[in-house]
Symmetry: C2
Subunit: 280 residues, 2 copies
Amino acid sequence: MTITIIGIGLIGGSLGITLKECGFATRVIGVDNRPENIDKAIRRRLVDEGMSLAEGVAVADVIIVATPVDAMRKLLPEILDRVGEKQIVVDVGSTKELLLEEIQGHKNRSRLVACHPMAGTEFSGPEAAIPNLFDGKMCVIVDGSDSAQDAVSTAGRLFKSAGMHLSHLDRKAHDVHCAYISHISHIASFALALTVLQKEENENRIFELASSGFGSTVRLAKSSADMWVPIFRQNRDNVLDVLDEHIEQLSKFRTQLIKRDFDGFYERIERANQIQKILK
Amino acid sequence: MTITIIGIGLIGGSLGITLKECGFATRVIGVDNRPENIDKAIRRRLVDEGMSLAEGVAVADVIIVATPVDAMRKLLPEILDRVGEKQIVVDVGSTKELLLEEIQGHKNRSRLVACHPMAGTEFSGPEAAIPNLFDGKMCVIVDGSDSAQDAVSTAGRLFKSAGMHLSHLDRKAHDVHCAYISHISHIASFALALTVLQKEENENRIFELASSGFGSTVRLAKSSADMWVPIFRQNRDNVLDVLDEHIEQLSKFRTQLIKRDFDGFYERIERANQIQKILK
């Protein structure tokens, strides 16, 4: 199968090398608006060759769109305009509602399978691409009933051959869930980094951040603004809801500290500990 | 050297097995107010034998106090009452200011070396103890000039033989730093867990938390209330300062979302990315 990947970053590049290694793809073509990304991707064997968007779309069985979600809004209709009835387009964006509403009426909508492989690291670009990124992780197929059955089935096989489990959600539920389990974690991490950087400016000495628990909570603060700002823009309303709830939870801890209500503080930590059972 | 460890949990137990394995300790004695912890610790070879507090203190060259910090306030004066001029007491508490102020006038103050090995996991109890927990991490010696030189030197060798680097801070600076680099991370993590659990109650379905970045930011939310509430109680004022700053940073993101100021949001993410350089 010939796979064209548009946007050779962490996710696009990792899919390229993984799908080639597992044998699902016989040929992987890279499309990227930065020529140096294609060079790096070929050198790192993430893709076999580079092409223009038009060429890449024309020769592919499956076209994977792995750009930041703002670029997707522009690219997806253009790509769907070009595809034939046997070709399949898969987007791997982290937000779905706006994107799928805009594409709703497109004559080739059924050739698109909206997917969200729930995998990633705090790094970005082709340098960050790795095989096995997807191994054992969940891929959510969104609004699957709006896609042709053959397209859903091929997309499902694609992600399964990359080692993923499949799950199904509609676009509204998907965006709400992602606000809770991914987007808020990133904002919390960015805010924590800024809190400490603010302090460092005044104090001029911060020791051993990595071994104190801080390293783990702040890992995501290294994440790319180019990827995340479009996500926050598109999922603004859900993210605001969760952010309000999160600030509320922090404010309750604050009130408990002010009142020296350490029994209440204890109870709320014990409740927080229950996250263990849903984290597995 | 005979080492008595009081409180055989994650830190105490890990020190026991590590100091025995590296040869620093020839004999490790465990003291714990829960007899089952001693049984577990002997079975897991964290300690060689169990004793009462009085016996354990009497026979030791070095006494390590590794209980939660509230128990330390009670235990440290009692232990210092009992020690001779060649014995050394090391506490490994996460907060220092209150503890060291209370012990300031004790006739044997100079036999105590206040230390903070900056290592840990989100787990607790002797089951959680592991060798190599301290490897390559930082141990802070606090108010070292209030301790006898031989005591500081032995405590330093102890932590170095466990694989740690040494650093020095006074008690005020220590507690401020820990509020920033450790205590706030835990509160943020607890609050994030509560945010999601609140949601789960209503939605009844949260998928794949672990692979979404959530697992990393919320890891610390599994931490023990028995250990952490005493820390927050003793470091309340510093923690309140940092918590205010953190809520302020989150509120700025909130305002930017409300105003759709995504350029400002982008700039603040780029600033947060700079945490990379101090995390190494």
